[in-house]
Amino acid sequence: MDPKGKGSPDASGLARVGSTFPDEVMQIVLALLNSHRDRSSVSLVCKNWYDAERFSRTHVFIGNCYSVSPEIVTRRFPNIRKVTLKGKPRFADFNLVPPNWGADIRSWLLVFAARNLCLEELRLKRMTVSDESLKFLSLSFPNFKALSLLHCDGFSTDGLAAIATHCMNLAELDIQENDINDKSGSWLSCFPENFSSLEVLNFANLRNEVNFEALDRLVSRCKSLKVLKVNKNISAEQLKRLLVHAPQLTELGTGTFLQDLTSCQYSELESAFNKCKNLKTLSGLSEVTALHLTPLYPACTNLIFLNLSYSALKDVQLAKLLVRCPCLRRLWVLETVGDKGLEAVGSNCPMLEDLRVFPADTFEDIAHGVTESGFVSVSYGCPRLRYVLYFCQQMTNAAVATIVHNCPNFTHFRLCIMNPCQPDYQTNEPMDKAFCAVVKTCAKLQRLAVSGLLTDVTFESIGRYAKSLKTLSVAFAGSSDWGMQCVLGGCPKLRKLEIRDCPFGNAALLSGFKKYDSLRSLWMSDCKVTMNGCRLLAKERPWLNVEVMKEEGSNESRANKVYVYRSVAGPRRDAPPFVLTL
């Protein structure tokens, strides 16, 4: 059976024989099913299959930690070993959610331990994790193998020290872009001297220096190490030493690539990279200059993913590097490369599928950002493009129409024109035509983020044409309730809707009350929704959690931040005082 679960059972045919199928056989068959969706389908067939599925489930993915409780999860799936949890609403990343909102992992860990779950992997996104929780985790689950923390907060390097000290079987420690209290680098030295099971180590997020000798020894004895992403304190010379011990790496994140090397050190570094024949992903590279990139070249031949989003490269430097990366499928850069740099992308990366262009400095209007012409150049050279995140200073409707004409296979289209409500700079029209073109042309579009000056026309199109859309992000857009009503009335596959600073009010909010059953969540902030509107929604749909975040000194009847989500766990029991559940 295809392990991706493509061979999911034909429900109608097999249901007839379901009751005579031995459970043990069912479980063996189901063990091969990995897709969550397929497993959900299987569990709906009949009671036998439901039970067989739940006992054989090893991995559970929970997209909103408040949609279900740990008790319910562990009761239904007693044998899970791997848990993925997402906590706060995504706009928490942009400081729109006050601190101490919730999504604390602690209560989950307590229940997992109480039910004697054989927890092996924990992947958290936007959760609050304390040092105590990390210590509890390290002591309660002897088979614990993999910890991944992405955009989390609430912990310090002390928590990491506990993990390093107690998790004897740790294979993965992936700490990415968290709000961490970085006290010192001594956590790394807590790995025991005989510890050698590490396969993934990512501490690029951390600022304090780790003991290099300890790191070097660790890398030397972990023969299965595949992913190593070090922080800025690791110099090029030190990196070379690490590479010599780990030529088998498939993913590398460098430290500071600024170096004054002697020619001997230079050629040693180049030769170390030359031995890394398996490198697929390269990142880090902060503070680079053109000269210092050349030792990398030998390792670029098989590169699939190049993350230069922390390197202020210019166009010429980027071009020289890209020539060496013929297999590149994913490229993340800063806007410092400019339109010329993006022309180089179009010329050198025919296999490109994922392009992200991040802004370099958000507080100054820099002349050398990227414009619509850079994006258009890429679209001509990279027809396989399916994921784009593009921050720019200006855009035109015509450019976007050209882009999607060249690349009709977009699944993720996230365009951020950085000045809110900015029209097409050539015609001064709203950017409606651009996004209409996107949804009409890109039938497979799953994720869309809009920007620029937009009227309800955009949302009419989205509601009408975006049949595969799952996630929509809207800011400073729309003319009236009608816009949001169109989206809620269309978009059959919509799962996540996040809106800020739009003129959508109660009529819009309430028009979707049936829709919210199929959404994971709705976020609305600084719109025109009032407390009464939210109360009405809560009354109409008592099984939804309708939460309003109150701010001091704000208008009493305004509901400034609204978060609506479906849940089988009822209202939150851990809500802080500023979160009102209606």
Binding site: P420, D456, A475
Partner: protein
């Protein structure tokens, strides 16, 4: 359902160009002023809890209440915009603008002088230090600062432009607050500055 009027291409924010004395946020179209009021509140709560966030917010959140020119919010005035995570913002700040870092050069203009000078605020430890240096640089006297009278009694008064774009009298705020918010200096004739000193 009747479709409401869309915003046309030209005049878009007529309401926003009104000068209003009402509470910001009372009309949802004034996205900018409501955003700026909240900016101030948000900064004060977040500044207490998270250092790194207050750093990235401090530049964006000194919003203006009821900005009379009625432009839609520029990216510098809105919390959480453009949508970039704090982690990414913070990884660039120290390099680019060297906020609170070494070498804070600001322009100094003297009314009537043909060209400007630049001083490094980091070099000075206190107001008297700075004022003495300015006196010697421009060959003039600035005199004593008093809270009530400003720089009355001297020919010149030092003023500065702060992060919000407002012109302030040098000496009113603590030194550390001054150097982190001072964008440029202007030495005015005391007769012009008298208005400030009397407030």
């Amino acid at each position: 359902m009747e479709k409401p009027v869309n915003y046309g291409g030209g005049d878009l924010h007529l309401e926003a160009t009104e000068l209003r004395l009402g509470l910001p946020g009372s009309d949802g179209h004034e996205k900018q002023s409501s955003a700026s009021v909240k900016n101030n509140k948000r900064t004060s709560t977040e500044a207490m809890t998270e250092e790194s966030r207050s750093k990235s917010n401090s530049n964006v959140s000194d919003g203006r209440n009821g900005n009379p020119d009625g432009d839609p919010p520029t990216k510098a005035q809105v919390v959480g915009w453009p949508p970039i995570r704090s982690y990414r913002r913070n990884s660039f700040q120290p390099k680019k603008t060297e906020i609170d870092g070494a070498g804070m050069y600001v322009k100094v203009s003297l009314d009537g002088a043909p060209y400007l000078r630049k001083v490094d605020l980091k070099v000075y430890k206190s107001y008297p230090d700075l004022l003495k240096a300015l006196e010697s640089m421009f060959k003039l006297t600035i005199g004593q600062y008093s809270e009530r009278e400003g720089y009355n009694g001297s020919e010149y008064a030092p003023t500065y432009e702060d992060k919000d774009g407002d012109w302030m009298l040098v000496g009113d705020v603590p030194w550390d607050m001054f150097i982190s918010s001072c964008k440029r200096l202007r030495i005015m004739k005391a007769s012009e500055a008298r208005g400030l000193g009397c407030l």
